[in-house]
């Protein structure tokens, strides 16, 4: 039999609790003794001051400091022929292994399981579920899909006033991990690999110098100094 940890509140204590939580009506608050109200306001001011003094990590600025100035439109480059960064590979490379990621990462998670509190109890209510009663994966995917849609006009489940704060340090850790992975990719990959500028820089539209060419039927087209060379070939030789 579990120990009973419940406690009873007097009507006065209950009323003060509601007032402190901001759940009491104006009239109810007005009935509270002045010293309680002052004490409550002082506590709120102290908490607000503490929260205001905490600066959120400026991940974007950190990333850009690592990159230097890139006078390019990143999204265009990404939508073009730029590679998708392999975050996982960069992270694992930094950790000192270049072997297969899956088994090692899985082993790491299994070995240290339990140290990180489960996030599901905090996340579940935000997506309308309850742990153990509904498939969380489906709910999350549905929520993400819903909020990612163009016609989404509601309040994000991560919106201020929501429950994201409940996730607490774990969420901050995940955010830092993502930023770290990005930084690793940007600055600590294979030193022989093409630079980030090469990945993100605009495509240069200019002619090429043709040193040698051997083709059955060929025509070289050049439409100005700001245009790429086009080598037109007939492919009779490739026919069966």
């Amino acid at each position: 039999m579990a120990e009973d940890l419940t406690m009873s509140l007097s009507p006065d204590e209950y009323a003060r609790l509601l007032a402190e939580d901001g759940l009491a009506s104006r009239d109810a608050v007005a009935l509270r003794p002045e010293e309680q109200v002052r004490s409550d306001r002082a506590l709120r001011r102290a908490i607000a001051a503490e929260l205001v003094s905490v600066e959120a990590p400026t991940i974007a600025e950190t990333v850009m400091r690592r990159l230097g100035h890139l006078p390019v439109h990143v999204s265009d480059s990404v939508q073009g022929e730029a590679d998708i960064p392999s975050f996982a590979a960069a992270v694992m490379a930094e950790l000192g292994t270049r072997g297969p990621l899956g088994p090692q990462l899985q082993a790491e998670v299994v070995a240290e399981a339990g140290e990180l509190e489960s996030l599901w109890p905090a996340i579940a209510p935000a997506v309308g579920g309850a742990v153990g009663e509904q498939p969380m994966g489906s709910l999350l995917k549905d929520a993400v899909r819903h909020e990612a849609s163009e016609d989404f006009g509601g309040i994000s489940w991560l919106a201020p006033g929501g429950r994201w704060r409940v996730v607490g340090t774990a969420a901050v850790g995940v955010a830092f991990a993502a930023a770290a992975a990005l930084l690793l990719y940007m600055g600590m990959g294979d030193p022989a690999a093409p630079s980030m500028e090469a990945t993100m820089a605009p495509i240069l539209e200019a002619p090429v110098d043709i040193e040698a060419i051997d083709a059955g039927e060929v025509e070289v087209l050049q439409f100005g100094e700001q245009a790429p060379t086009i080598i037109m070939i007939g492919d009779e030789a490739s026919r069966p």
């Binding site: 990159l67 093409p194 820089a201 539209e205 790429p228 070939i233």
Partner: protein, 150 residues
């Protein structure tokens, strides 16, 4: 897992040395060679959005529609080769012969089912590209924009 997150968090802290580590303009030994495969045809007049960046050059060709097929390629060092299949049983081989700060010398060989269709050596300006067009495919031709990024 927390140890992993902590490690990554520490890495995320700004460090002056790293801030200068891989700066804009730093040279490297490798070149990223990319090849798009585009199907040009007169059967329609649509152009894939993915081709926006080069569409004005594609329209120089006498075709009305351009469909993006795929992107292939890889990162190579000197004398490194990349072999890529293209529709029609053909293949394209790109070889990085050399590179300077300004240009990369690349050999391009396109093989048909029986013979080599094209064997050319070109110097592509850094982050530039050129196009090979002509292999027949599905009522039109293939256009192969080839990029050298470094």
């Amino acid at each position: 897992m927390m140890r992993l997150l902590l490690l990554l968090s520490l890495v995320a802290l700004p460090q002056n040395g790293w801030a200068q580590g891989k700066t804009v303009g730093q040279s490297s030994a490798a070149v990223k060679l990319r090849m798009w495969t585009v199907h040009a045809t007169n059967a329609h007049s649509d152009t894939d959005d993915k081709l926006d960046r080069i569409v004005k050059h594609l329209r120089r060709l006498k075709y009305s529609g351009f469909s993006y097929v795929d992107t292939q390629g890889g990162t190579v060092r000197r004398d490194g080769k990349i072999q890529m299949p293209i529709p029609g049983g053909r293949s394209v081989q790109l070889t990085l012969l050399s590179k300077t700060a300004e240009k990369a010398r690349v050999r391009v060989r396109i093989k048909g089912k029986k013979a080599v269709i094209l064997d050319t050596t070109v110097s592509i300006r850094r982050n530039g590209f050129f196009m090979v067009a002509g292999p027949k495919h599905d009522g039109g031709v293939l256009v192969l924009p080839i990029f050298a990024r470094y």
